[in-house]
């Protein structure tokens, strides 16, 4: 056996270019696959991150009463224990920051026409620690001493025919369900990856809402941002842990994680992954055909050599083993290089990212039903990397069976006379 390994290895070295080319084919295929998987996972993850960073947050806490009527955004079921909640959350190692928010339904009017809006009341400094609205903002963010300032979605502002610096009337019901309308000055416009937010989102501060909506600092939701995790599965685990941590101390509150809030998106991502597995199988089948072809070529190139080996006394079984060893060695070499390149690429993707906006300029990618732009960060998928490596070797091994048998069944004279 050792002798066969030595012969197989020497054969590979003798045919350096052929070995190199076959190995490169395998390596290139596996590298592209790992790269694409990381980018696609990164795109899905990017969409999920955008939702978390713009509207849902990782964990959201309401009162149980609010939860029952949350679709109508009631203002009379505020959290009463914000300070205690924040203090408790600060004690969890995965919690990055918390921010209070209160949402309300309203109408924006320019006295020509009116549009329904979902208003969000924020505490500007705290909010920017949890949400990334400022990253999508043109104009100004809320100032410390500003009065009746409003930030609108770009599409909403276009529909209402207002620009930065213009006044607009916001109509809504106060906490006591009394009608109120007030003039606000548009200080900024945002164009986020969430089309609904762009079309109907309006932000004001708690300071202004206390007067406008008789709000009395009512906070209907506390949003929790968690420290970044490269892998979505790890983030989901963190969310579950933080919810359990809150439930233990505040069992009467209604706590939701993105797993529930973004269930639809997560389901879509899972379906896409299942579809991706099917696509992968097709892709790998094509790669396997390439490997078979490559090894078969090497057999035909060396038919005369096989004849000589048979004439020297090598049995058919040994010829089969030798060719299979060669194929497996090429597979090992190609898989190793491919996975190594894949790992380097994934490392760059997870740390530096893939600047989609620079490459595609003003275009954006639509993934999981949500447009995405900015920088995509890849994801590590260790089981997939190991699986890909083993697949490369196994495919090369299996692909070499047929050509090896072909070589072994040739008669000595037929092989020597073969051109």
């Amino acid at each position: 056996m050792n002798m066969l390994i030595k012969i197989a290895f020497r054969n590979l070295l003798r045919h350096k270019w052929r070995t190199l080319l076959t190995g490169i084919v395998i390596a290139f295929g596996l590298w592209i696959y790992l790269f694409m998987d990381s980018v696609m996972s990164g795109l899905d993850r990017g969409s999920i991150d955008n939702m978390i960073n713009l509207s849902t947050s990782a964990v959201k806490i309401h009162t149980a009463e609010f939860d029952k009527e949350r679709e109508s955004f009631p203002l009379n079921y505020g959290l009463t224990n914000i300070a205690a909640l924040e203090k408790h959350l600060a004690g969890h190692e995965r919690v990055k920051a918390c921010a209070p928010r209160t949402q309300f339904l309203g109408e924006l009017s320019n006295y020509e026409e009116s549009m329904p809006v979902i208003g969000t009341i924020i505490e500007p400094k705290q909010d920017s620690m949890v949400f990334s609205l400022t990253e999508y903002l043109k104009g100004n963010y809320f100032s410390e001493h500003g009065v009746n300032e409003i930030i609108l979605g770009k599409d909403l502002a276009r529909d209402m025919n207002v620009a930065i610096g213009d006044n607009i009337t916001l109509f809504a019901l106060t906490k006591y369900e009394s009608h109120n309308a007030e003039d606000f000055i548009v200080i900024g416009l945002f164009h986020t990856t969430d089309p609904t937010l762009n079309k109907s989102g309006a932000y004001i501060t708690f300071k202004d809402a206390n007067t406008f909506l008789d709000l009395e600092n009512t906070v209907t939701e506390l949003n929790v941002q968690l420290k970044r995790r490269i892998n979505l599965d790890d983030l989901e685990q963190d969310m579950k842990q933080v919810r359990a941590y809150i439930d233990k101390q505040f069992p009467k509150l209604a706590t939701y994680t993105f797993i529930e809030l973004g269930a639809g998106v997560l389901e879509l991502v899972k379906q896409k992954k299942a579809w991706g597995v099917g696509m992968t199988l097709v892709f790998l089948l094509i790669a396997a055909v390439g490997i078979v072809n490559s090894v078969l070529m090497s057999v035909y190139e060396r038919v005369r050599e096989v004849g000589v080996l048979r004439a020297l006394g090598l049995e058919g079984r040994e010829i089969v083993r030798m060719f299979m060893l060669e194929g497996t060695m090429i597979g090992f070499f190609g898989s190793f290089v491919g996975v190594l390149l894949g790992c380097i690429t994934i490392f760059v993707l997870t740390t530096v990212g893939y600047p989609l906006d620079v490459i595609y300029k003003d275009m954006y990618v639509d993934t999981a039903g949500f447009p995405y732009w900015g920088t995509i960060y890849g994801e590590w998928n260790v089981p997939l990397i190991i699986g890909t490596f083993l697949f490369g070797i196994a495919t090369a091994f299996l692909a070499s069976i047929y050509p090896a048998r072909k070589a072994a069944t040739m008669s000595v004279i037929q092989a020597i006379r073969f051109f």
């Binding site: 009527e69 109508s72 955004f73 009631p74 339904l105 109408e107 009017s109 006295y111 020509e112 026409e113 009116s114 009337t169 109509f171 019901l173 106060t174 906490k175 006591y176 369900e177 009394s178 009608h179 109120n180 309308a181 007030e182 406008f212 008789d214």
Partner: protein
């Protein structure tokens, strides 16, 4: 003697108008006297004007004026045919025939425009206990559309009111509120309701055509008309039930 008599006459003439004049609350009570009927039924139409477009919805209304107002409204126009409203006091349910489902309208939804109109469910449901929520004062007396009117102002004395301020022009003779302006907490004018036509039916002066203008939108108003009005028609209590609503 003459001196005292003269002083008495002057004093009487000075204070008499204030003795005879009605207070805002009394005017409001007199307005309510129009509602001294046991039941009312009518056919109605609601025309919603948005910009240059108009949509008309027709409806049949039957209402019992008991301790708690009970009303059943059935829409008859083709798009909404079979849609029914059941109002019991401050509660409202809507039956959607296509879905065969009943939805309770509560909270924020009560403030929405009824069937896309400028009249909110809350405007339609509002009970008469205005004096418990508002300080009512007689602000002025002035003519409106050639009718002499009392101008009464309602200022909210509690926070839980639909409008912080309301101003009504009440016909001095018929005690029909010919016009009402509704203001936001900020003082902005939100809606103006006007009576376009009244009719005397069984001795009662009834506004049969009214208009509600939304001041936040240009060219947005709803005109409501009542026909075939009948008072005190015998009605079965059972009609005002969830069972009937689903029928």
């Amino acid at each position: 003697m003459n001196k005292y008599f003269s002083c008495g006459v002057v004093l009487l003439l000075t204070i008499a108008p204030s003795l005879w004049a009605l207070t805002g609350e009394e005017i409001l009570n007199k307005m309510d006297n129009h509602r001294d009927y046991a039941s009312i039924s009518y056919k109605g139409s609601m025309t919603i004007f948005v910009k240059e477009k108009a949509r008309t919805k027709t409806l049949n209304v039957e209402a019992l004026n008991s301790k708690e107002t009970k009303a059943i409204v059935e829409f008859t126009n083709p798009e909404d045919n079979g849609t029914k409203y059941l109002m019991l006091g401050d509660n409202l349910w809507i039956y959607f025939p296509e879905e065969e489902d009943v939805v309770k309208i509560s909270g924020h939804m009560l403030k929405e425009g009824m069937m896309g109109s400028d009249v909110s469910y809350e405007d339609a449901l509002e009970s008469d206990a205005l004096s418990t929520k508002y300080t009512i004062s007689l602000a002025d007396e002035e003519p409106l559309n050639n009718r002499q009117c009392y101008v009464i102002v309602l200022d909210a004395k509690v926070k839980k009111v639909p409008y912080y301020k309301r101003k009504m022009w009440v016909d001095k003779e018929t005690f029909v509120a010919l016009k009402e302006e509704m203001f936001a907490k900020s003082g902005k004018l939100l809606k103006v309701a006007s009576v376009l036509e009244t009719k005397i039916i069984k001795g009662k002066n009834i506004p049969v055509k009214t208009e509600m203008v939304n001041k936040l939108r240009k060219n947005s108003k709803t005109v409501f008309e009542m026909r075939n009005i009948e008072f005190d028609k015998p009605m079965e209590e059972e009609k005002f039930s969830m069972r009937y609503l689903r029928r």
